[in-house]
Every structure is written in C-alpha cells, then in structure tokens.
Amino acid sequence: MKRVGVFICHCGSNIAAAVDCEKVAENAKSFPGVAFSTDYKYMCAEPGQDLIKKAIKEHKLDRIVVASCSPRMHEPTFRRCIESGGLNPYLLEMANIREHCSWVHPDDKERATFKATELVRMAVAKVLKNEPLDKSTIPITKRALVIGGGIAGIQAALDIANAGHIVDVVEKEPSIGGRMAQIDKTFPTLDCSACILTPKMVEVANHPNVNLITYSEIEKVEGYVGNFDVTIRKKARSVDMKACTGCGTCYQKCPSKVPSEFEMEMMDRKAIYTPFPQAIPNKPVIDRENCRYFKTGKCGVCQKVCPTNAVDFTQEDELVTERYGAIVVATGFDLFDESVYGEYGYGKYKDVITGLHFERLINASGPTMGKIKRPSDGKIPKNVVFIKCVGSRDEVKGKAYCSKTCCMYTAKHATLVREKIKDSNVYVFYMDVRTPGKGYDEFYTRTTDQFGAKYIRGRVSKIYEKGDKLIVRGEDTLLGRPVEVEADMVVLATAMVAKSDAAKLAQMIGFSYDQNHFYTEAHPKLAPVETHTAGVYLAGACQGPKDIPDSVAQASAAAVKVCGLLSKEEMPTEPIISAVDEAICAGCGMCVPVCPYKAIDMKVIQERVHGKTISRKVATVNSGLCQGCGACTVACRSAALNLKHFTNEQILAEVDALCL
C-alpha cells in the first residue's frame, strides 16, 4: 500500500492570499493513497523541510507531493530534502499552485482554491505511479579527437594537450595548416600569416601529447559522450613515413605535373608532392589519380631516386578504430562558387580572380614570388578593382548571410596593392563596409585615407574585355550615376561557404547543421561551442564565417569544454530517459529515425518460445545519448517504449485525476 504525504506551502502570503491552503490540505486527505496531509508557511525553509522529513518517518510515507512554487524553482530542493529523509529523490511530485494558480487568479479565492485542489489531485495521481530512479554513471575515455588541422584545430589540440590530455588531430590533406597557410598577411596588423602559423604547426607536431593523423578521413563514428568509437581511414600515402627523410629528391624528379590546389592552380605541383614548402609532416604523398605509375604502370622514377627506399606503391588505405572521450569539429570552410555570377566573367577572363588567388599572388613563396602580376600576361596591374559581397548577402544567387571577413581582407588587399605598386589605382565596389573588431575600423580608415583606395558604393553589373583591359561597369549609388573603370585585374571577395561534405560529417557524428550546412551550436548565445550531441564541440568557420581571432578564441573555448569533460573519471547520467519493454517491442524500428540524438539502435535478442530458441530484433536505448524528450514513445506503435518519470501511465493518471 502506497502512502503519499501532501505538503501545501503558503509561501508567506504569496499562495495563501489567493488559495485557502488549509482547505486544500484538508481536501487532499480524501485522495486515494494519501496517508498524511498538512500545510505550512514556508515549505522550502529549513523548518518546512524538517516537517517533511519528520512526517516521512512518523507516517511511513513513501511518496511525497509538495504543492508550492514552480518545480523549475524548487524541485531540486525538495528532491534533496526527501532524499535526506530516506526516500528516492524521484518519488517526489510538485503541484505548481503559485505561478500557475495564486499569482494568476488573485481575485477569486474560491475558484483558485478549487483549481489548487485539482492540481494537487493530479500530482497525487502521478506520484502513485512514480518509480525510484537511480543516476548511473558512464566512464570517460581520456583521449580527445580534433577533426581538422587548420588554425582552429591546431589551437584546440594545443590547449587540450597542454592541459595534459592525449589528442589526435585528423587532417584530410597531406599537411596541417589549413586555409591560414594559404593566406599571405593577416589583418589588422599585417603580420605575415606563415610567420605566426608555422611555429604553431611545429609546436603541435612536436607536442608529446598530440598525434597528427594527416591524409586521413573520418569513416565512421559510433558511441556517445565519453566513449566515441571513431574509425579513421588513413589514405595510402605511397610513402613510408618512417623511412622518408623529406629530402625532396622524389618531387624534383617526378615527371607528372598537376595544377597545385594550394596555389589555387596558378602553379604546378608534381604527382608526388608536399602541398607547400613548410608542410607538416614535411613528407610527400603520391596523388594516385595523376601519377604516371598508377595510370600506366610505367615510370617509378620516384622509387628509383629515393635514397631511403621510402616510396611504396603497394601501400593500401588503412582503417583504424580508436576510442575518444570528446570530439572537436574544426573542419573549416570552402569558397563560394563564383561562376554563378556570369556577369563578372570569372573563369572566362583570366584576370578576374578570387581573394584567395590574390593571397597567393602576393605571397613571397607563391607563383609570382610575391610580385603582383596579372595571371593572363604577367604584367603588373595598374588599376585593380575589388568587388565585395560576391555570393554573400544575396538571397537570389548566393547566400543570405554576411561572410564577415571580406570587408577586412579586401581592405588589406587594397592596402597591399597600394603599398607594392606605387602608381596604382585601387577601386573597391561595396554594399556596406562592416568592420567591427579590435583595430578593424582604424585599419579600414587607413586604407582609404592613408593608402588612397577609392571606395565606390554600388554593385557591378558587367565586366567585359576590351583589348588587354577589363571594363568594369557599375553604379555609384551615392552619386546616383553609372561608373566605368578600366581595370587590369579584378578581385572578387567571394563568400565563405560550408565544406561540401559538411552535412555528411554531421550526419555521421549525429549533430545538426543549418540550411547553409554550417554546424549548429547548442545555443546561439549561451552554448556557442557545444553541439546538441554531448561531447561534440565546434571550433572555427565550420560553425559560421569567422576570421582568425574568432576561430582561435572559439577553439580555445572548445578545448576548455573538452578539458572539463576529460578531467572526470566518469560522468553521471540523468535517469529520466526512455526504456524499451523488450517483451512487447515488435522490432518495427519506427523509433529509430524519430530520435534526434541517434540514441536508439536495433539489436537482436535470443528467446525461448515453445521450447525453441528464436532470435528477433528489438529496439535498445543508449543511456549515454538519450536526453529524455520522449519523441520515441509516441512513435512506438506497441507502446514498448516509455519515458521514465513521464510514463504513459503517469500522464494518463494525471488526465484521469483532472476529470474526476
């Protein structure tokens, strides 16, 4: 026989002024299962809590209803209270007779008292079906995975490693460094990008706690916070990493030339290559699609010239599975495909290039050794036009969002052109100039005032070739008249977009992304580096357009979250989760796609039926992943799934109690 104790709180006069608390307590005595009922001025205060604890002992109560304020306020208080009174904390229900009753019905004591009585009756009906629940714990693997070896990934890995945890960094390309390695100078200080990046690359490569896994991709992710089982595909490098000394003889002798992705195809690399001279690891890989040996079976020059016999054509992709406690996703961004803007002639005219091409053009180790030369004929351009918002802030052809970095990098490019080519003219077509950030607006002001870049507010409607010039036609909306510029080179500030395979990775790990395929943070303000999947964090431009300082800051923030998680041996799990009644589960699998956390899997169980052993499929809930939303319980046709603490029976009991 269950014995419920009901405790009605006056909350001073907050409740008692509108609700007759003595009467509610009196009425509650007649509810089924109620063994004791009383009221008190302040139930949450120490004497009130003592009253509850004493009543549990004296009246042998095994379930408690407290009618007071919102459970969002004091449920933890009263759970602790009954726990110290010797009951399981989940054998408590609260009736909210303050926020939902006395405060909103101050002028009708009779009906407010009636409503409070009904709310208490619902709570009593529910608590009769409450089950004791226990918090369980899951162990935490003290190893972190960082996906992406750009500046965000490097920073996150360094911070986690410096805190004393082991980190693996998985990078798709043959070298870490990411986009920042391609950039020449950084705004607003005009630091050389390589000068500040490469020391970090060396630091992360030499850190005893960091393992770099380059030229590798994530193949499969299973498990949950604290225990992710990640399968990594180590692509065949065709070069033995242990034997190779990085001498570079192989790529000097290789006869196959391929446009270099790192140099934005403005320069060639070989089929056996390192992406750039400062690559880490500075050991080449063979691009099998373009290698003469893999295409024709004849060649093998690299193998012949290698002094350490490191070239190995027989290498195969290797799959390794590791267990990690936490994952930082720092996969970065791609550039918008600007060829959709046919009027700008990108792809048609060689001298219409993107900002990233321009970065390589002005880089001392780039295709022109740092001299700004037109890609078409190598002449030094005199008139350079920059067009901003190419793909950004354009709902029709591009993306609706602002790419955030273009205003600043265009100002940087304009400054560098004026600095390097003294008699040059720089024109910038813009929609708005957005320069929030420390020292950013000052930089932009210098670009116009000190370096004399001419900013024209308006869009470009057409670019066409005339002789060896590009005629840029646009509108100056401030003067309200058309303008025409005879340009030698045009640089497009293309939008930052999510990686083309961003959605695939998100689906693999199991977190959400927005309509632009940028990864969604758990809360836009209060949880900007977490995802909805516990143990998975975001850093850098994979979450949205970001410049280097923002990416680094977010990476450090993600690292702190990882360190917080890995500092514990095990973590408690909330017991209010779904559970499967295997006896009635039909194994239809309807619940699997409904779960937003990928917490439900199908498993095969063995059963003895009529003396025979049969095996059948049933659903199973992963307690580490389930967050207790209950979506699966509604999808379940046979009601085999139930949400603990909010079971079908409990809710129906409340509905019934309301209608007595």
Partner: protein, 145 residues
Amino acid sequence: MSVKEIPQNWEPKILVFACNWCTYAGADLAGLSRLQYPPNIRILRVPCSGRVNPQFVIRAFQRGVDGVLVAGCHPGDCHYVTGNYFTRRRYLLMQRLLQYVGIDPERFQARWISGSEGPKFQQVVNQITEEIRAMGPNRKLRDAQ
C-alpha cells in the same frame, strides 16, 4: 436533462500540455508578472510537446475535458531539436481525426509559446477559454456518466 442544455454554473475545463523548456517557463513568467487569466486551465508538464501522444488527448476528451491545448517551443527552437515538428504534424492530423469522429476540431489546439512570452501565454489562455466557453460542454466521446 436535454443534450443541448448547458448546466448552471458550467465552467469549461481545459487541459494544457506544456513543454518543460518553453511553455511551462512562459506560464511561470505569466505568474511572476502577475498576468491574470481565467482559472479554467490545468497545466500538465511534459518534457517536450513531442511527448504528447494523441492517445492522451483522446483520453482527456473521453473523461470530459472541454478543450485541450498542446504548447511547446517555437519551430526551430525545440530544446530537443525536432520534437515540436512532430507536434505540428500530429496536431493537423489530430484535428482531422476529431472532425471525423464528430468533435469540433477547434477544441484541440497547438500553440508555440516561448519561455519569455508570459503575455502571449495569458493571451492564448484568454482566447482559448472564451472559444471553448462559446462551444459549450464537450458531450462527444464522453464515457457514460
């Protein structure tokens, strides 16, 4: 008593399924702000509006509730990412089912009320209470009494 006759002192009884993260908090805020509304509603806390099984709604009508409101986070703001999208679809289907069995589908409503929308909670409760009052007592589906 004739079926059409409305008993004296009849007051509509409305069940509100409120999601813990948005609407329950919105109702708390209405209380904190002392926004008054008629005492006809009974709030039942669920973790997510997507937890509300249509079976619960049918049971409520069977037991004599005059109206049911399911309220959760705004679309896109669900604490559990996608729960309220299921609610939205079920709500539309449920209204058609109710119409089919002869219950005024307007007796069942779904609304999106966030944790910061105390005034909206008050306005929704006022509006629904008046609408249900105008419809009179729910006599369909009721268990024999």
